[in-house]
C-alpha cells in the first residue's frame, strides 16, 4: 500500500486552498497515518488566473470541472464547489458512476441528494464521504456513524451554524441588536453578503437532516425540517433570557417520536448549566444522547478553511486506509422511512415575548389567551416602557403541549394591543 492515493480537486475557493495547503504542510505525517501518500494530481475551478496563494503549477489543470469524473489515474474526486444541484451534483453522479471514490463538503447536496448518491456508491462499491459537510472540523459524522453506533439515540441536537452563533453571542456580550451585529459581521467577513442561508436557518437545517439520518437510521428528510432563523431575536430577548438563567442559541434539534421523525431549527433558550450555553462565537457543537452511552458532546470550529480541510482530509485518510463503508452507516435500503412528527404533539417549556402598547388590560388579554389555551405561566417579566413607548412582556411557560402555545398565539393574533409578531423560543430542558 505505498502507491499514493490520487486526488482530483474540484473547486479552489477557501476550502479548496485549505485542502491543498494541509496536504502539503502535513504530507509526511499524513503518509504515515494513511499508510501511503495522498497526492493531488488534478485541479479544476472557474478561473485559472485567480491568485489563490497556493502554487497550482504542480497539478494538472482541467478547464472542464465535469471532466474530473473520468480523468485517468484518479482514485478520489473531491468536490468543493457547493450548491445542491448543478455542476456539483453532476460531478458526484459521474465520478461515482466512473468508479471513483467521492468526498464532499457540500451539505446542501448531501441533504437533497445524499441517498441517491449513497445508493450509487454502494452499487459501484466506492466510498462516499462528507465529514466536512456538518460542523466543519468536528468529526461528528464519524462520531455518530461509528463512535455512537452501538446506541439507540434519543436525540441529536446542536449549534450547527457558526455565523448565527457568532451573531447571538456578540449580541449577548455587547447588548446590541441583530441588524447592527449582522452588518458588522458582514464587514468583518464572518457573514456572507447574502446571509439568508445562515441566519434563516437553512444551512443548519441541511446539517440537521444529515445528522438525524445517521443518529436514527432513517432516510434523510430535509423537507420536513421546520426552520426558523434568528432575524427576529432582539437584544431584549437575550437580556430577559439571561435574567431567567438561559442563553439564546440557534439549535438544530431532532428526535424520534412515536408519531415520526421530529426535526427543527429554531432559536432556543439553553440553561446556563448546559454545555451548549458555553459554546460561544463561531464554534459549533453537537450533542447526541444514546441509551447506553448517555450524553456525548462534540465541540470545535464549524467553518473556515483549516477546520473544513481537516475534515476533508480525514475522509481521504479513511479511504487511503480502506476503512470505509456505507455512507449513512447502513445500506440505503435499510434506512427507515419515517413520517414527519407533528410538532404540536411535542411538549416542553416555551419563552414568549410580546411587544405591547403601554395601556390598561394588555396583560389581562395575554394572560387570558394563555389560560384559555391551557398554558400555565411559570414566570412573567414586564419591564418599563421602551423609548418607542412600547412595553416588553416576556413569559416562560410551564411544560405543556406545543399545540397549546400555538393556540394561545393564534388567539392573540390581530390584537390591536400587540405590536409586531410575538417571539417564540423553545426551552432546552
Amino acid at each position: 500500500m505505498t502507491e499514493p492515493l490520487k486526488i482530483a480537486l474540484a473547486g479552489l475557493g477557501t476550502v479548496g486552498g485549505g485542502v491543498i495547503r494541509l496536504l502539503e504542510a502535513n504530507a509526511a505525517l499524513i503518509a504515515r497515518r494513511a499508510g501511503r501518500p495522498i497526492e493531488v494530481v488534478a485541479v479544476s475551478a472557474r478561473d485559472r488566473s485567480k491568485d489563490r496563494g497556493v502554487d497550482l503549477s504542480r497539478f494538472r489543470w482541467v478547464d472542464d470541472t465535469g471532466a474530473l469524473a473520468v480523468l485517468d489515474g484518479v482514485d478520489v474526486v473531491v468536490e468543493l464547489i457547493g450548491g445542491a444541484d448543478g455542476p456539483a451534483l453532476a460531478l458526484a453522479r459521474n465520478s461515482i458512476a466512473a468508479g471513483r471514490a467521492f468526498v464532499t463538503a457540500n451539505k446542501a447536496m448531501i441533504a437533497h441528494h445524499g441517498l441517491e448518491l449513497a445508493e450509487a456508491a454502494e452499487r459501484r462499491g466506492v466510498a462516499l464521504k462528507y465529514e466536512a459537510a456538518v460542523a466543519g472540523g468536528i468529526p461528528v459524522i464519524k462520531g455518530l456513524r461509528e463512535g455512537a453506533a452501538a446506541n439507540e439515540l434519543a436525540h441529536v441536537y446542536g449549534i450547527l451554524n457558526g455565523t448565527c452563533n457568532y451573531i447571538l453571542s456578540t449580541m449577548e456580550a455587547e447588548g446590541r441588536d441583530f441588524a447592527e451585529v449582522l452588518a458588522e459581521a458582514q464587514a468583518l467577513g464572518f457573514a456572507e453578503a447574502d446571509p439568508s442561508f445562515d441566519i434563516d436557518g437553512v444551512d443548519a437545517a441541511h446539517k440537521l437532516s444529515i445528522l438525524a439520518s445517521l443518529a436514527f437510521g432513517t432516510r434523510i428528510d430535509f423537507d420536513s425540517v421546520a426552520v426558523t432563523g434568528i432575524r427576529h431575536v432582539i437584544a431584549a430577548d437575550i437580556a430577559e433570557a439571561a435574567a431567567l438563567g438561559f442563553k439564546v442559541r440557534l439549535l438544530g434539534y431532532a428526535e424520534t417520536r412515536p408519531d415520526g421523525l421530529f426535526q427543527r431549527v429554531h432559536p432556543h433558550l439553553v440553561p446556563v448549566a448546559h454545555p451548549l450555553a458555553h459554546v460561544s462565537g463561531s464554534l459549533n457543537a453537537v450533542v447526541a444522547e444514546g441509551n447506553f452511552v448517555g450524553r456525548l458532546l462534540f465541540e470545535g470550529r464549524g467553518a473556515g478553511d483549516g477546520p473544513t480541510a481537516s475534515a476533508v482530509v480525514a475522509d481521504l485518510i479513511d479511504i487511503a486506509r480502506g476503512e470505509y463503508g456505507p455512507a449513512f452507516a447502513m445500506p440505503v435500503s435499510a434506512l427507515a422511512d419515517r413520517p414527519a412528527a407533528d410538532a404540536g404533539e411535542g411538549r416542553g417549556r416555551a419563552y414568549l415575548r410580546f411587544t405591547v402598547e403601554d395601556k390598561v388590560g394588555v396583560l389581562a388579554e395575554i394572560a387570558a389567551a394563555m389560560r384559555d389555551s391551557n398554558v400555565s405561566i411559570e414566570s412573567l417579566i414586564q419591564r418599563g416602557v421602551m423609548p418607542d413607548g412600547s412595553v416588553l412582556v416576556a413569559i416562560v411557560t410551564h411544560d405543556c403541549p406545543e399545540r397549546c402555545v400555538t393556540q394561545a398565539l393564534e388567539r392573540l393574533e390581530g390584537s390591536p394591543s400587540i405590536r409586531g409578531r410575538p417571539m417564540l423560543m423553545h426551552i432546552l430542558d
Copy 2:
C-alpha cells in the same frame, strides 16, 4: 456479510454485563448498522454461580478463561478482566496469535503492552481495538486516530478520571475537604475501596500515554508520565482558585516539545472560560489542538457499564464492518521513539499555596525565594488565621520557566515557618 460476528467474552463484571445487555437491547439496530448480527457465543469469568442480573444460559460457559483464545467459531475475543499483566495479557497474546480480533477496555494493559500487542496484530492481520480504554463512552480514540488524523497535534489534554473529577467538583460545590468527600464517594460506590489508582493519577496516566501516542505518532511511553494526584488539594485551594477565576481539575496533559515528549498528570487551575472548567461530576473530556482543525473537544461519560459497553460494541461494529487498521493509527514500526521532555524546560504560570506560621517575616521569606529564583508574582492572597493558627498564602506566578518555580520551592524546603509541603498546581493558559 450476513454471517454473525461471533464474540467470546472474558470477564463478567459491571462492564461485561453491560456489553451483554447492550448487545441484547440494541440487537436489531446493531445488525443494521454493522451489516450483520453481533453474537456472544461464549463467556468466561471467575465465578460461574454469581448472579449478574443477565441470563448467561444462552452462552457457552468456559471455565478456563485462557481457552477463549483458541475456541472454535470465535471471531473476536473481548477482554474485560483488567490488570496490566496476568490472565488479561496472556489472553490478548494468545487470541491474537490464534488469529482472533481482540477488543479490550484495559487501559493498564494497553499502556504497558499495547505496542507489543499491536505489532502482533499487524503480523497476524487481525484487529486490536481499545476505544473503551480511554474516557469510557467518548469516542476519543477514534477521534484522534481518524477524526483528527489530518492534523499535526500540538497538545492533547483532558479530564481523564471521573472519580477525581467527581471529588474535585464536590469539594468545589460544597466547600468540603478531600478526605471527607472521598469517604462519601466510597460509600456511594463512586470510588473504589482502594482508590489510589484513581486519586493518585495512575489511571489518568495510563489513558494519557495512549492518547499521546495517537496524537503525536509516538511510541507509548507510560513510564515517562509525571504523575501527581489530588490527595493534597484542600478546600482552601479550590476557594482561592475560584477567587482568582479558576476551577481545579486533575488534567492529563501531553505535548511535543523540541526536546521530546512531555506527559504529565497533575492538578491544574483551569480558567473558568475554558470548556474544561464546565466539566463537572464524573464526566470526562478530552481536548486536542491541531494545526488545521484548531481546538476539538470531546465530552461524555468516562466510566460505568453503559458508556464503557457502548465503546466496546462500537469497536465490534467497526470489526463487523471491516473498517479497521493499525491500532495506533500507523504501523508500530512507524511510531517515533521520542525521549521524555525535561519538565523544567516548560513555561507557564503556576499556583503555589503555602501553609505558614502566623509570624513576622514569613511572607518576606517566601517573596525572597521567588525573587532569587526569578519567579515574578502576578497575585498573592493571604487570608486570616485558620482555626489551627496557621495562615494560607496563595500565589499565582507570571509566566516563567518551570525550573524557576521548582528552585523557589527548593529554597523554601525545610523552612521552619512553612507547615507541611507547599501545593503546586499548573495553570492551563
